[in-house]
Amino acid sequence: MLRFLLQKLGLLIPTFIGVSIIAFAFIRLLPGDPITLLAGERGVSAERYEQLQATYGFDKPIVVQYFDYLGNILQGDFGTSIVTKRPVLEEFMTLFPATLELSICAIILATAIGIPAGIFAAVRRGSFFDQSIMGVALVGYSMPIFWWGLLLIILFSGILQWTPVSGRISLLYFFQPVTGFMLIDSLLSGQAGAFKSAVSHLILPTVVLATIPLAVIARQTRSAMLEVLSEDYVRTARSKGLAPMRVIGLHALRNALIPVVTTIGLQVGVLLAGAILTETIFSWPGIGKWMVDSVFKRDYSVVQGGLLLIAGMIMLVNLVVDLVYGLINPRIRR
């Protein structure tokens, strides 16, 4: 297990270097001069240009520039926003909990519905239920997120007026963030109704963000279960006289989960990509919306730093997934 972990950690280093090169090159590959780009539409005077070039080190050879950049990153310096003048890392840290909260809720929803649906479809293979679930999953999988989000807003916020349209909590409530997770902070605040408001704001974005992962998890669970259910050890479990619930829910599921966990892990990357759209639709103040806003504001240093931080997060999540994978698969454990 330790060797497996070290192996995975060892793989992270080249991956991180690769991502850092892409993030580094990105701003230099954009058409036009980086200083002009960084300065944005306001433009700069000739002296200011020289000054900026020296500050950013653009006058040095490219390799030196890269190592300076890498050195800064290793010291936790991901650049400074041109618009707000705040460190990129600081902005990221304030906004990330919002995205994390949304993503966690979405992945919980997708898993909590996707796995049982997949199991049920596999056990009742070919039935009406199976075909309906797989049909819905196919639709969910190919659903354009933007369109789907707007549809839900029109129905639940517009026509039915059940849920709010945007933000994380009603403006009536205000408190200092403690954990950054609105569900927890609203409870901690002790303000009546705050938690309920936070939940009602969270529902639609969660549903929208969970749609694709849910479809993928349900399909993967179904196919993994179908494969496992015809295995010899499932027959052995039944030959012990165990109840069907135990045979399916323990002996079969435990094996089927191994590929499903990998799928869930891969969905985290998809989720962060989906967060960009979902957060934009629902004005959710997370890193997805932050990145989109920064692109529109031409805040390239935020885009550059944010990209690297998001990539870092995905890598971290994948490491956790590998760890879980190792824990549930005995063939890796030793």
């Binding site: 052995t236 039944r238 030959s239 012990k240 006289g241 435990r254 094996n255 005995p330 030793r334």
Partner: protein, 329 residues
Amino acid sequence: MSLLEIRNLSVTFDTASGPFRAVDGVDVSVDAREILSIVGESGSGKSVSMLALMGLLPDTATVTADVMRFDGQDLKTMSKRAKRSIIGREVAMIFQEPMSSLNPCFTVEFQISEMLRKHTDLDRSARRKRAIELMEAVGIPSPEKRLGTFPHQLSGGMSQRVMIAMATSCRPKLLIADEPTTALDVTIQAQILDLLKELCADNNMALVLITHDMGVVAQMADRVQVQYAGQKVEEQNVNPLFADPHHPYTAALLSALPERATARGHLPSIRGVVPGQFDRPPGCLFEPRCSFAVASCRRGAKRQGADLGHALCNRPLINGVPADEKVEA
């Protein structure tokens, strides 16, 4: 009264290309402490008939039988739940592929004590103690150290020993072993067969041993039932069967034994294969491969009496010669 009695068992699979009768009117009876061997080539419906008894066939199978009794209980009318309290506890089964029959995600201890948890009220530590005893009894060295082992760390022989420990954990009255040694090396094969015989004697356990190997039958069985293409074609005690097989198929299986072939210098095999779903002959199912076949065999085969091993044959052999030829001579 026999421990297990099955009469006129049929199993039909609902396949994409229509119904397929894999077991066709088979009778099985096993006495307490008896070793019955079911023998026949691959595809003869040996596994399917025993899986039907255990209730382990997929939903596509339709099982019918006139009688299905175990130890005085009627398995036909029993609820699924009641049957599950017998399966594993009183009738247990082990399989052909020991390596894939154990669940890769659980330890040896978990898989053995799960059976005890289901069918006994031993507590955790008592189950562990019993698991160690069982592993010792099936010849697993230093069992305490093996408790936490996962199946992928075991050899085929060891896996089968674990399966046997598991299957015998509740002291079943009947063990069904479906080709338990087919996937194993020859030396291991002999050890496992010896172990099974020893366990039967020690635990007063009856054994249904499914095999395609007449050598294994000779070494193990009290009584033999020969199956061909889903039908029982002959049944005799082991010694008379080897001395005087009545069905041409039994005779052919026996003449394929290496020790019988050496006299003629080569190992004869029965030409042709067991008919499947699409090439079932209209009359006697063995007719296309039978060297004694006559025209009437195309219309069907007659069931002979106990004196002729219940042979399903129009021309049962006596001392290697069809009975009717003798009459003519």
